[in-house]
């Protein structure tokens, strides 16, 4: 994905260290037919660009690059759009500098 300034989020995340807990997504989008405004706003608000809209018009999350900031939780947990947990101990982003 390329944005207005031409920055590629994937390139930024590539510099980071992660220990991915395979098959254990710590964030889940609840099943929906039409995404709510809160859910849609995550596509742009998530700093790791973990949210994307699929060909059926539903919002999906792929939290492998997640930095565990909680922005999506603050926006969309209360609206019931997502389920948010921290990764299991030791997994997830491992900041080298922080």
């Amino acid at each position: 994905m390329s944005t207005e300034t031409g920055v590629r989020v994937e390139d930024k995340l590539y510099q980071n260290r992660y220990l991915v807990d395979a098959g254990q997504a710590h964030i889940k989008v609840k099943p929906h037919s039409k995404p709510s405004p809160a859910l849609l706003s995550l596509i742009k608000a998530c700093p790791a660009h973990c949210y994307e809209i699929n060909s059926n018009g539903q919002v999906e999350v792929a939290p492998d690059g997640c930095m565990e900031c909680g922005t999506c939780r603050v926006i969309a947990e209360g609206t019931g759009d997502i389920e948010w947990n921290y990764p299991r101990g030791g997994y997830g982003v491992l900041f080298k500098f922080g």
């Binding site: 930095m67 900031c69 101990g89 030791g90 922080g98």
Partner: protein
């Protein structure tokens, strides 16, 4: 289940958690600290500035072995529009003192060191362990935690929630609400590596001297937010943060905002040729005094960012975190010394101690600032910065226009943009909120 019973469990090993665990352990309490990162610091993100005074109260001789970057000799405040910055810089030789007041630090390294002090003091620090739930008894008193380890339930007289701004436990146990989008800022940050000499030349410093730049203006695209540039030894920490509610409203993306800030003509030369080694994101509590939740209850206290203890006006957070952690621990120690139970009634002592400290006094002073800045962000972060730039350019550009005419032009621009009522109203509201 860990059979042992602890006097206190501290959840989290950031600034507030380490301060609490260290103080409790030094006071002889049996402490278990639980951290979900592979080591203390691996999940923590900050600018970062360290305030010596608050750390000295915990580790008096920290300068001997703490991983410090640079001590600050200069503070730059920048008001920016797209092409300019108007600066207020304060630099003093007084800051080259024996025991400097502020340092830049790198959190993953600093927290690891801080955690080693906690272990030395006798606390058990359990890393790579996520606390998933608080355990309550039949009366609703918190009596322990459940972790994601096998048989991971542990009990203690009191639980110190140092779980950070995005802490799940307190919310899930109905001890406090989830932060609201207009009470937290999302900050994104990059670590830019450069040779030491290059950093010293670009920031006009030598040895271990350091510089901080705090910037506001059109860089936040009309949102309530700020940028920062901190000089470390061999790296520059750079970032920008804005209210989550503003990101939602505007549809701006955090990474584009960061990229524009980096490309600003006043910032780009500082970073030229750097190697970026990390991209991080974190929430910052911005709600101030009015967003502080209940700080204590039966069997628990909450400290640091989890309690929204952050002074957004002065960009201070880690010192409030350390102080709240230390005071919570002192209060727990006093209750324990009297052999009293860790009830809500007895733990109120923590709140009293915090109320008497700079933490609550400072947050109270600025209690109306969030309401002012969060609702008038267009004026304060777009209109005024542009007006300031125009006024200063008009003032310094020599083009044969008589000075009186120049002053008239500037005044006209200000009145046209905000009207007399608007100007006086903003000044009045700002002064009142500052008081």
């Amino acid at each position: 289940m860990i059979e042992e019973r602890f006097d206190a469990i501290v959840v989290g090993a950031g600034m507030s958690g380490n301060a609490a665990a260290l103080t409790l352990a030094k006071r002889g309490l049996k402490v278990l600290q639980i951290e979900r990162g592979e080591y203390a610091g691996s999940k923590n993100v900050q600018g970062a500035i360290l305030y010596a005074d608050m750390l000295e109260k915990l580790v008096p001789n920290f300068r001997e072995d703490a991983p410090l970057e640079r001590h600050l000799v200069e503070q730059r405040f920048w008001i920016m529009d797209n092409k300019s910055h108007t600066g207020l810089h304060y630099r003093s030789e007084d800051f080259n003192e024996e025991r400097p007041n502020r340092y830049t630090i790198i959190r993953s390294q600093f927290d690891r060191w801080f955690s080693s002090k906690v272990r030395e003091a006798g606390a058990i620090v359990l890393c790579e362990t996520t606390v998933t739930e608080l355990v309550k008894d039949a009366y609703g008193k918190v009596i322990g935690v459940i972790t994601d380890r096998q048989d991971g339930e542990v009990h203690a007289d009191v639980v110190v929630l140092a779980e950070g701004v995005n802490g799940l436990l307190g919310t899930r146990a109905d001890l406090r609400e989830r932060p609201k989008p207009d009470n937290v800022a999302l900050a994104v940050k990059e670590m830019h590596f450069l040779p030491r000499e290059t950093i010293e030349a670009r920031f006009n410093i030598k040895g271990d001297e350091g510089v901080v730049i705090e910037a506001a203006g059109t860089i936040s695209a009309g949102m309530t937010g700020m940028g920062f540039v901190y000089a470390n030894k061999e790296s520059v920490s750079l970032g920008i943060g804005c209210l989550v509610s503003d990101f939602q409203k505007t549809g701006e993306t955090p990474y584009d905002l960061l990229e524009r800030f980096k490309n600003h003509p006043s910032v780009a030369p500082l970073l030229e040729g750097s190697e970026v080694k990390e991209y991080a994101a974190h929430l910052i509590p911005e709600g101030g005094y009015n967003a502080i939740p209940n700080l204590y209850g039966d069997g628990w206290v909450v400290v640091g960012d989890a309690a929204q203890l952050n002074n957004a006006m002065h960009r201070e957070g880690s010192n409030l975190a350390m102080t709240s952690g230390r005071l919570a621990a002192e209060a727990i120690f006093q209750v324990k010394s009297r052999r009293d139970p860790m009830t809500k009634e007895n733990l109120e002592l923590y709140k009293k101690m915090l109320d008497d400290s700079f933490v609550i006094k400072d947050l109270k002073k600025y209690k109306d600032m969030p309401a002012l800045l969060h609702t008038q962000s267009q004026n304060f972060f777009l209109t005024y910065p542009q007006l300031v730039s125009k006024a200063l350019q008009n003032f310094v550009r020599v083009d044969g226009t008589p000075k009186k005419e120049k002053e008239k032009t500037t005044l006209k621009q200000w009145v046209a943009a905000r009207s007399w009522t608007g100007l006086f109203g903003d000044a009045f509201r700002f002064a009142r909120a500052w008081r």
